[in-house]
Symmetry: C2
Subunit: 768 residues, 2 copies
Amino acid sequence: MEYRVLGKSVLKKDAAEKATGRAKFGGDFLFPDLLTGKVLRSPIAHGRIVKIDTRRALALPGVKAVVTHEDTPHQLVGRWVKDRTILAWEQVRFIGDPVAAVAAVDEETAEEALQLISVEYEELPAVFDIADAEGPGAPLVHERLAKYECESAHFHPKGNLLAETHLTLGDVENAWAHCDAVWEDTYRTPVVHQGFIQPHEVTAASDASGRITVWTSSKAPFIVRQAVSQGLNIPMSRLRVIAAAVGGDYGGKGTAQIEPLCVLLAMKSGKPVRLALTREEELSFTFMREATITRLKIGARQDGALLALQGQITYDTGAYCDLVGHLDMSCVLLHGPYRIPHVDITARRVYTNNSPRGHMRAPPAPQPVFALESHLDMVARKLNMDPIEFRLKNAYDEGDRMPTGARVANPGIKETLKRTQEFLREQQKKALEPNTGWGVAACQWGGVPITASGASRDRRSAVSSAWVKINDDGSIVLLTGATESGGGPLTILCQIVAEVLGVGYDDVSVIASDTDGTPYEIGTGGSRTTVRVGNSVRQAAEDARRQLFDLAASKLKVTVGDLVTVGGRVYERGHSDKGLSLAELASLAINERGAPILGTGAELRRAEVQAGKDEENWLDAPMHGAHAVRVQVDPDTGMVTVKDYFACHDVGFAIHPQNVEGQIQGAVATGLGCALYEEVITDKGRSLNPNLSDYRLPTTSDVMPVQMEIVEIPSRTGPFGAKGIGEPPIIPVAPAIANAIYDATGVRLTQLPMTAERVYMGMKGKKG
Amino acid sequence: MEYRVLGKSVLKKDAAEKATGRAKFGGDFLFPDLLTGKVLRSPIAHGRIVKIDTRRALALPGVKAVVTHEDTPHQLVGRWVKDRTILAWEQVRFIGDPVAAVAAVDEETAEEALQLISVEYEELPAVFDIADAEGPGAPLVHERLAKYECESAHFHPKGNLLAETHLTLGDVENAWAHCDAVWEDTYRTPVVHQGFIQPHEVTAASDASGRITVWTSSKAPFIVRQAVSQGLNIPMSRLRVIAAAVGGDYGGKGTAQIEPLCVLLAMKSGKPVRLALTREEELSFTFMREATITRLKIGARQDGALLALQGQITYDTGAYCDLVGHLDMSCVLLHGPYRIPHVDITARRVYTNNSPRGHMRAPPAPQPVFALESHLDMVARKLNMDPIEFRLKNAYDEGDRMPTGARVANPGIKETLKRTQEFLREQQKKALEPNTGWGVAACQWGGVPITASGASRDRRSAVSSAWVKINDDGSIVLLTGATESGGGPLTILCQIVAEVLGVGYDDVSVIASDTDGTPYEIGTGGSRTTVRVGNSVRQAAEDARRQLFDLAASKLKVTVGDLVTVGGRVYERGHSDKGLSLAELASLAINERGAPILGTGAELRRAEVQAGKDEENWLDAPMHGAHAVRVQVDPDTGMVTVKDYFACHDVGFAIHPQNVEGQIQGAVATGLGCALYEEVITDKGRSLNPNLSDYRLPTTSDVMPVQMEIVEIPSRTGPFGAKGIGEPPIIPVAPAIANAIYDATGVRLTQLPMTAERVYMGMKGKKG
């Protein structure tokens, strides 16, 4: 199929605004009487609030509002698990739990006011380690958890265990006896931050009639609207949430973290309020990626066939859980894109008094896949097999059954592994430098039947809608609730509209992310925007085209089936001289029907499994990729330098190749940080490195260019065959590097980040 | 029919914002780098531009842009008649014609820059009087008029005559012989300003990608978008026009007067620009109500039956015409709501070198109706008949044929006259003060079959569309392109939504007047918002209700026909316990169909006359009213004081009675100003009184309370029977006062305004 607009790296719609620094972010909205908001947070990890006295703060000149739980409806909030409060009203559960907030004329006054609020706590014993949290007599993080409203059937709260899921196939216990190689190990990953440069910031203003507008750094304005509406009992019709430009999201800006507080301050003060987190707050108190412990045991036959996998992954969810209950996904992820007849996997979430946890790019995949793909390497070595041959032997083919029952459709796992193999063959012709090694790892993302996904049970997670307007001059406006979080989704959506309507890319403008002015959308994320939002946009554009054709057919006296739309004109195929321009048709629509053409589209994956329609039963088409990396390890310091990086991903169809490459390059950079540098270090719940000097994000001097290869095995459900790409490339980075370090040093690192110290200690231990 | 929300004077949606001074008008949008725009205008009334030199202005520090015609596409612009330019490129045609514009860091610098632009003109002979303009050898205002593109078939440009329309019935010339009373006179009306307090102001900003946002004082954002798009060759998809709060419109803010210039400055400077007119510019150069001369001759039989009417009305349209070509309407208006068998009316528009003319409340009615209703009084007196009895004898009944052929449907003329008669009977029981007199006058508005309306030929004038969104919490948002210009239309539209959907008025929010976020709408005006926009809103709400009922029927297993929606719940009639809330249904829609409920509606009156469907053939249902006024005339000074004012109007159904009363009170106040005080006085095209000291608007000390009576004879086409009310009440004010002055003094004033001086001179002339 030859496309005119798709498959081309057109100029991104947001490029000029961002490149010139003119884009407006959540804190860039000016008002003459704008106040600054600040949050007072709990200094203790667990305790009861005895008394809050705000009188001295209120008396400070320049303070316009002080709010405590008494200003909130006393109800639990949370997108999936309603386990937290806008402001603590009985207990605080982590160092940083919001207790009060102020709005004042400037930042200094607001800070001073925080000092003047006195809060009396009765301290309770706290727990910071997931092993302790499940131990006998452990302090309960949520005393009344059983009463909490959980939206998902996945949650079975019991003590500090929030949720647990099992995946079993065959008979693992008896399978070990048939294995020729068995490997067992335990893997640990730390808390990491999403790494966006713009901290959370939001501005809220209430008009005199009580209508509230919120400009937010969130990528999901409809989710924010829902959270503010539910948390503060404000009807959605009085709330307008606009996603301003987003300075990086990576999963951290998909739910309402500070918006309800900001709205509360705006309502209380009667003035516009800007609330922005400091870097210290970001790195201490926001919803970051969870720490995990994974125990894994895998067995295979001598011929390389995987026979059995037993695993348990436990996520430290902190004091509150802001994640969708995708423990089913964790099980599938720990299983990987491989045929394994005997499986016994448990995934668990445990509360502690650490700061709460949320989404980060590809949740909850990097942690189990670090374990799995490191582990496979060890099994392959035991079998003396090439690690790619080993994976290829076990990887899914078309029609294989997933452990959850659905059949695999159009998988890219083997093709990406083969391309990686070819790359490595070329590379291995070169001479090896000293202290270097190669590692590979693969990944599967989205390969979850909808029945096994937490998201699917709350079906709304799978909802997108779009409108395509044809203005009376024939120009096109796409309206979508999706947000430009940086990866270029709006550009791709415009390409789809242009392709369907037969106009140029520049003829399509996009209005996005405004709960009043754009259609309902669950938010940009989950590697679903091109695919799911794309489908709704394609439908909307096709609906608009159908209306254009209906009008044109009656005017031109031809049948709809013979019409084409090319270059902004609709005409009978082969008779381009006898046609009507989109401007003429748009005016006809207004003059003859009373309204311009509005095409609508809605995308919904149903949770009901449809027999015989396996491809319909995927939440998204499975996305596969394989990476290869060459590292050099300094034998004196343990410092790891990445020398070569190769990433191959199946994206179904690359609508915008440069965006695909950008996603891969960016995700590998983040994965590199998580593999080698990043860790939020805490002591009894208190962050010890909440700044960008001590929390070590990779910089331009750390990040290497990635050699990329794009595979296009079309999806059956994405628009024009497209699959997602936002998340997969972060997943295999850490295990690929771990495998390369092993290849270079013989040291198996099972804990992230793989700092120079840990590598050095590993090398020393091996020698010792 | 018992309504829950309709017919009640609920709190206006914009009340709090306006009352607290927090509403944002077109000039209230702040940017750190906001520039001030200023316009350089022609100092001569007619001339050729020889040379423009902007170099010295550009060199002035702080000047960021200077634009002349060279920065514009050289094309003619105008909504109905394309006869003007954004910036003059060959000729200037009135004192004030825009020649250049600047944007600078502040107002002083912008003013100084204007002084530094040198323009060399070659002056041409000018013409300021419509009689002169049609005389032999008159200078041509538009030398190349015949080439101009006129959108309406009404225009037959010839010399300085822009347009001419005739209405003939029967045989006037032979009819005079059968008349027992004949009266002939000539009436004159001056140029008047719409009288809004907020001058035109607009802010425009272009983003780095070239998308332009315009915040305007206009009530018609889609018209502004069209004008800017056409005038500057910008695709509509790159233009977002938002109607900010409007500080009074009264017809003067319905087309683009300064928006294209402001956008041009924003594009040239690359910065946001605010352009606001001064009061002097407002009262000198904007599109105000035209001066007219009307010759009228009417004959009647002794029994009071009108037999013949011959009239000619000529409008001085100034240098450019910004009005719809409703000369047909002028003919119908000069004919009035009366049966007259023999008619010969001509209506004409003539160009002069006066400033251009546009719409003002009830265009073009007050001028012909001043003549007609004054004249009828004189004929009644000749016949020695009571003026109301005389009108009642001739007034339309149901089914009468209009001169244009359509049948009169549900007229309110007789009922409003009778109520006025009753009022007068009560009043006349009181003792008469000295030097006082009573006058009455009636009016018809909108009583024009669509085939006879200029608006109908450009069918787009009759287009409204609306969307009703049901949010996922069941709250309702109405999206409309209509603008809150002060009369409360948005409030009424929300009442309609609440009534149809069975929710409370407060449960409905409205988002309005944003070309990107709200549906297409031609603009608030023409007394059509409640009626025409109201119909589209009713359709949209009914469409949303149908979708709610479809969902509910399938869930509740009942048939749609048995469902009702009351108090935010949908249930089977008689079984309110078994139902679903709107929140539940809205969530169902999202979860089962992938998108929230969106109801759409579109209103279009077709220009084709449909046989046998007379009520369908009206542009709007005819609106009728009758006024009675008692004045006292100071015999020493001629000063006229209004002592009592009574206004009775048929509004079909008063959806918001307080709004109806507000429209009547406000329109009578404006009518009073036009009757007694207001006139733009010019000398060779130069305004001599461009300030609010010398241009005498009525103040609170002039305006009397109006006694009002509302008649409700339902329209067959308006929502719930409603007819319009915005314009009719201004129409009869001047003739009612003229008739009262005659009653008090015996002086017939045929020229507006009826200043103390003119009344005094009349009394003196009568004595002398």
